[in-house]
């Protein structure tokens, strides 16, 4: 498969639950999910079969990164907008967890 993606495939598909990733899939290839329903897999035939089986939309790395960054930016805004009067920054972190950080896809 001609690709500008290096050693990975980039997909967008919602996790459909049971059967979405099987134990056999996990043993055959590396796969990792990211915000925005973005999935990154080793670029091998088995992972392409996984993408086809789940009707995943193929993306370039740049397109996938844009989706992830958009979700994280929204999460950062949600974190910034969630405030309690008189709350210190440390207390806010205790309440909400740390502000979401940037994610760089492999």
């Amino acid at each position: 498969m001609a690709t500008d993606k290096g050693f990975f495939n980039y997909w967008v598909v919602a996790n459909s639950g049971k059967g979405f990733i099987t134990h056999t899939d996990s043993r055959k290839f590396w796969i990792r999910g990211y915000p925005g329903n973005v999935w990154v897999c080793d670029d091998i035939p088995e992972s392409r079969d996984w993408g086809a089986r789940n009707s995943a939309a193929t993306k370039t790395k740049s397109q996938a990164q844009t989706i992830v960054t958009g979700v994280i930016d929204d999460a950062k805004d949600a974190w910034d907008d969630n405030n309690v009067d008189g709350e210190s920054s440390a207390e806010k972190i205790e309440r909400l967890g740390f502000k979401p950080g940037d994610i760089t896809l492999p």
Partner: protein, 329 residues
Amino acid sequence: MATYKEIHGVNVQYRDSDATAVEGDVWYNASTKVLKMYGAAGAWSSGGNLNTARGHGIMSTQGTQTASIYSGGSVWPSGSPLGVTESYDGSSWTEVGDLNSNRQDGGGAGTATAALHTTGSNPGGHVVLCESWDGSTWTEVGDLNAARREVGGAGIQTAAILIAGNYAPQPRSVNTEYFDGSSWTEGANLNAAKSNLGAAGVDASAIAFAGTAGGDPYSLATAEQYDGSSWSEVADLNTIRVNIGGAGATGTAALAFGGANDDGDPQALVESWDGSSWTEVANLSTSRRAIHGSGTNTSALAVGGETPPASNAAEEWNMAASVETIAFD
């Protein structure tokens, strides 16, 4: 470099087929011309999705991969506690009876049909409440002695442990309470105060791991093991984490997964505890913090959490011996 023969005393066998093997066997399959091994390798697969994506709930920690409940929690970043309870049958989640008191960051114990949901917080603050689940309804039972949240939970419905907890401005606690089916009693405490920890096991054998003491570094790798009478410090995890998930039948066989690193970034890392050391095993497919679990270190369920935003994902862990092909780059 030592050879296979120098280590094992024999050469790698040539076989025409993959004969029945014992764990650790390595052989060359002359028919398919590949090197094979028989070993235990763990892997995660997708489970059914929660109906309500959320973290900070509690699991029936002694439930199984095919029968567990997940109750309470909150949807990031609202921080508003929920009472929703969902039951898992091995393939899908079904909404069942709500908690009487909406809560997040409590402690869990028990099974899918006999569980406890203890402490946590609601908009009024930290609570001492404990509710008991009979498979269809939650009923309030004996309160704890100290209100707190971000705790660790272990044990069964009639013999449970609630471990440490609390968050700023209240100090982290070493306080541990034990439930006999009707009332909570203060007992042996942790050696070091922490919150947002993982826990696994039962009242006679448990382990509490990772979390935070609120200092710098924020996240911890420390672990303590309970032998039924006292807590002892044991080997640290390989990676510091907070808001970590856990599963395990005893304090000598547990699984630690997910959580956040010192910057709060969700992690996919998984470590297996054998009673003496932590070993990194296959990662979750999605990095999540505020994740929860049930089951054992060989058959576990990891549920919910935050990527952020909130996740509805469940993943199933299985560690089984099988014939594997050894690949060379």
